[in-house]
Symmetry: C2
Subunit: 249 residues, 2 copies
DNA sequence: AGCCCTTAATTGCATAGGCAATTGGACGCT
DNA sequence: AGCGTCCAATTGCCTATGCAATTAAGGGCT
């Protein structure tokens, strides 16, 4: 049976050898021939079977391990991993890109801006420290003149000082930040809430209507960069993602 | 200046050499020292500078390229990539795991089940073919006895015949499918909708209240496996994901 | 049986060297 | 100047080999 498994791994002659090995084993796993827990032949066996060097076999297996399809331990060997917890990968495009992909005309306006230290209410809502200097912006994005999303954003001026001198007249803050700052960590939260009367008026919907709320906070190293609340009219927008079980499609 | 870039890459002595190189360059990029477009020293220069073999340097650079931080082309060399479109990675746990992570007691019940060919209305809602055999389930999941999520699911019996003989009395359909079927592709859509009266009654909320709707369809190779609509009371649940800009954190 | 020690299987990491593929740029020709 | 040709820089891939780290399993001792 170990021999069966060995024989099942085949080269197809297309592309680099390590990739042929990787794809062959991947297909055996995804096709169900090697269910989770199956032990994968050791490197030296594959090496002899396939006539490849150990480093080449190793490279294929390391990559499969990084993709989460197999787990490897010294001496114990390599086994097919259990399917991981499912990840849903959503593309969070910039809002202009999002609107244009829908084939609609994009426009936006800055409704309000206030720089300085946050009010207690604001500090609470965005998890800010009392004393820090921030820019606080409210922006409405439109698609074909209809309100598309209401954006409320805080920019940490200590991390992005250039934002203080930018009026965001031409570039919406999200896009501007992508070009003028770096981030290494982000946190997203998605929830559904009824629209507050004020927000509903701006979005041109009825108060209490279901809205999709995306909250994102971004850091570079440990320094906070920005925090944003994006409020979408729920019936007008949905986020779609397509992907495979192991990260890469 | 090329020499400056070379000098900036340093080993810190912790962990494998290839990983020291990888982290050193990654930090130069994420820290802004090497903005997008900066050209990374060629392998042989790094190799001499660091006293490592070319394969070791190569391994570090290949990994950075796979992470999307750099792009490499023969002859042209290696340059720091522009930040990619942002991905939001959400963990879609199984529902029992989700509830237990909140520290609440999990329970569920199958409210309805019907096997056979889909009604026109159902076929439309889940994108089914008229003639195909399916199992149709409605399940309510509870956390500490309060309704947590309402699940409506279709299982394609042609792809998962074993589901016909399973009553899902002990294991909810989502978890059962994870163990008894494979999937290679999934599509998620997230939106916010007001609760229909029937659904609201089951979820113990007011009709029209904002709910988070997750629709997921799953395939193995080209064969459809299952489709599910998960309706969460919006104010009781949010999906959170934390991640870096380049896929892996 | 229980416990410790040794052995060996297996993966992880690194080196050294070589050939292949791509392509920017220099060079020469018109 | 414009065009084609050739060269060389750079990355991509592979082989062969060796040592290190981990640890399952067996063997020996009490």
């Amino acid at each position: 049976m170990a021999q069966d498994r060995l024989d099942a791994v085949k080269l197809d002659g297309t592309g680099p050898i390590y990739d042929q090995i990787r794809r062959s084993i991947r297909d055996l796993i995804l096709g169900g021939t090697w269910p989770p827990g199956t032990s994968v032949p050791p490197e030296h066996a594959l090496m002899e079977q396939l006539g490849a060097s150990r480093m080449t076999v190793h490279r294929a297996l390391v990559q499969l391990a990084r993709e989460g399809l197999i787990t490897r331990r010294r001496r114990s060997g390599t086994v097919v991993a259990s399917p991981p917890t499912t990840h849903a990968m959503l593309d969070i495009l910039s809002i202009p890109a999002e609107v244009e992909r829908l084939g609609q005309r994009y426009a936006y306006e800055v409704l309000a801006r206030h720089d300085g230290r946050p009010s207690p209410e604001l500090a609470l809502r965005f998890g800010l420290k009392r004393g820090e200097k921030i820019a606080h912006l409210v922006t409405l994005h439109r698609a074909d003149d209809r309100p598309h999303v209401l954006e409320e954003r805080v920019i940490h001026l200590a991390t992005v000082p250039a934002a203080a001198a930018e009026d965001f007249a031409r570039t919406p803050p999200g896009d501007w930040l992508l070009q003028h700052s770096l981030w290494s960590q982000a946190e997203h939260a998605i929830s559904a809430i009824p629209a507050e009367p004020d927000d509903a008026a701006l979005l041109d919907i009825a108060a209490g209507e279901a809205c999709l709320l995306i909250e994102r906070r971004t850091w570079n190293q440990a320094a906070p960069v920005t925090a944003v609340r994006l409020l979408y009219p729920g019936n007008r927008h949905r986020f779609v993602g397509r992907f495979g079980p192991y990260g890469a499609v």
